[in-house]
């Protein structure tokens, strides 16, 4: 318990003293995970909506795939993304391994199924009559989809939170594809692993607390939007 107290003191000291390295690590964590989440939203919302509304052969299979993907083990994603990005791999010519971009890619793979799955659920929970009503009122198909998405925006914010939460707290894939390089791909989770293995438990606790604070701030902002600024 004494150690956690030390960690809190250390966290405050690191933040208040403007320790450039810690701020940089925290900024990088936020930047990488936010970008991965945004790309997942850009891809996941249309795909999730499509899966919810369209009827095609193999739809059930596709939904099962997405649902499985929602629990993709990050280390498995990390391993495969690493192999693809290796110099000898399919995308090796891009020389992306051990860069923040590689981490965005891996985190996108982790977050996208979460966003697709939760969008699918959000759109599907809207009663079918609503859709028929819109069409009966003369809405065009894009207008109908837009209205549905607007109707589903509250549960979809949960998709944003879940996707972001999954990737910013993830360590296995980030460690593998990023390499935990100081000043470039060292993020809060990988730095925590490193400091723990170095025996600097107080710094590790400090980094963990900063991660928790960051997650709270982002989720608080999202909740504020979701709950109509009453929260």
């Amino acid at each position: 318990m004494e150690l956690i107290g030390q960690g809190i003191v250390q966290a405050l000291r690191l933040l208040l003293s403007g320790d450039a390295e810690v701020w940089r690590i925290a900024g990088l964590s936020l930047a990488i995970s936010a970008t991965a989440t945004l790309i997942s939203l850009a891809v996941g919302i249309p795909l999730g909506t499509l899966l919810a509304l369209a009827r095609f052969p193999g739809r059930g299979f596709a939904i099962s795939l997405v649902n499985t993907g929602m629990g993709l083990p990050p280390v498995v994603v990390g391993l495969f993304v690493t192999i693809v990005l290796w110099r000898s791999g399919a995308l090796g010519f891009l020389e992306l391994l051990y860069t923040p971009t590689a981490m965005v890619l891996a985190q996108f793979v982790i977050a996208a199924p979460v966003v697709i799955g939760l969008t699918l659920a959000a759109v599907q929970q809207i009663p079918g009559q609503f859709r028929l009503q819109l069409l009966a009122l003369g809405a065009s198909r894009p207008q109908m989809v837009w209205s549905l998405l607007k109707e589903a925006r509250l549960p979809m914010l949960a998709a944003v939170m879940a996707g972001f939460g999954a990737v910013i707290s993830e360590v296995g894939a980030s460690l593998m594809v990023g390499g935990n390089i100081k000043g470039s791909t060292r993020v809060l989770t990988t730095a925590t692993v490193l400091e723990t293995s170095k025996g600097n438990f107080d710094v590790a606790i400090a980094l963990s607390l900063i991660l928790l604070a960051l997650m709270f701030l982002v989720n608080w902002a999202l909740t504020w939007i979701q709950q109509g600024r009453r929260a």
Binding site: L38, W86, G92, E95, Y98, S184, S197, G199, V218, L222
Partner: protein, 292 residues
């Protein structure tokens, strides 16, 4: 249509949030290395112990300043460091498992092995020393005693340089370690020390990590200074035939840098201020036979 009216400010908030979230990313992406700078990047695969000691944090910036190259340090166990290099996924390796290094050298995967420095391994264990190994001159005999008495021993079990050395010692002792007393952690040196401390077990560690963990563990050194416990670090360059895009010049430049006199001078005093004793002894230019 009250819903639609309420929707407007929310949309604005969305935009604000998106900008907020993407702003830090821009600052990261902006100075991103252009494609041309990539060939200026050296990938160094190395052991965890040298990164944990902080030596590379000192040497890598020195090298980058001197050459204008960027080093990507990938800290993994010696086994993985050499395996990556043998696939052409790294440009230079800095490792500490002479027997494995020689194998890669003979296969032609790695070349120009040069010694850089050494420190030493020590056997540590609980104060009451249940296997009564303290004072045993030969480390192999000490391990035999541990096995015979079935005293708990924590192994790295991760093909790291430390693990390779440990396996060599068991072989010397004529023992194949297995059983409930033999615990394989599968983790780095620091974590392994923690487990050994917790389980009141014996283990083998490099002296540097043991010194760094003085505050956290209470396992004294029981065996030290036996010849087989020497921990020799070397650099090896990657054969460009191993894969596409190996940065041969960059790898050689880093290897040259590690054995250069000014680098060796830095290694000689590293750790003196923090631990009261240097952590490594520089040995550039020497051969394995000097230590047998």
């Amino acid at each position: 249509m009250g819903r639609a009216l309420k929707g407007r400010p929310r949309l604005k908030l969305w935009v604000v949030l998106l900008v907020m979230l993407s702003a830090p990313w821009l600052s990261v992406l902006w100075p991103a290395p252009p494609a041309a700078a990539q060939s200026n990047t050296v990938i160094l695969s190395t052991t965890t112990s040298t990164q944990d000691s902080g030596l590379l944090d000192l040497l890598v910036p020195m090298f980058e300043k001197k050459t204008g190259m960027t080093v990507k340090t990938i800290s993994v166990g010696t086994g993985q460091a050499l395996a990556l290099a043998a696939r052409g996924e790294a440009d230079v390796a800095r490792v500490h498992a002479p027997s494995v290094e020689r194998k890669y050298g003979e296969e032609g995967k790695m070349r120009n092995r040069r010694l850089v420095m050494y420190n030493d391994f020590v056997v540590i264990g609980p104060e009451d020393d249940p296997a009564k190994i303290k004072g045993t001159p030969r480390v192999a005999d000490a391990l035999k005693r541990i096995a015979d008495t079935q005293s708990r021993f924590v192994s790295r079990g991760d093909k790291s340089g430390t693990h390779v050395l440990e396996l060599g010692l068991w072989k010397q002792a004529g023992i194949e370690p297995k059983g409930a007393w033999y615990i394989e952690s599968g983790q780095g040196m620091g974590q392994t020390l923690g487990i050994a401390n917790d389980r009141r077990a014996y283990t083998i560690t490099d002296r540097g990590t043991w010194l760094a963990f003085q505050k956290r563990i209470s396992l004294p050194i029981l065996i030290e200074k036996d010849k087989p416990l020497l921990n020799i670090y070397s650099v090896m360059e990657v054969n460009p035939a191993n894969g596409p895009r190996v940065n041969v010049a960059g790898g050689k430049a880093f290897a040259d840098f590690m054995v250069a006199p000014e680098t060796q001078a830095v290694i000689k005093v590293f750790g003196l201020d923090k631990y009261g004793q240097p952590l490594f002894v520089p040995i550039a230019g020497k051969a394995d036979t000097d230590f047998q």
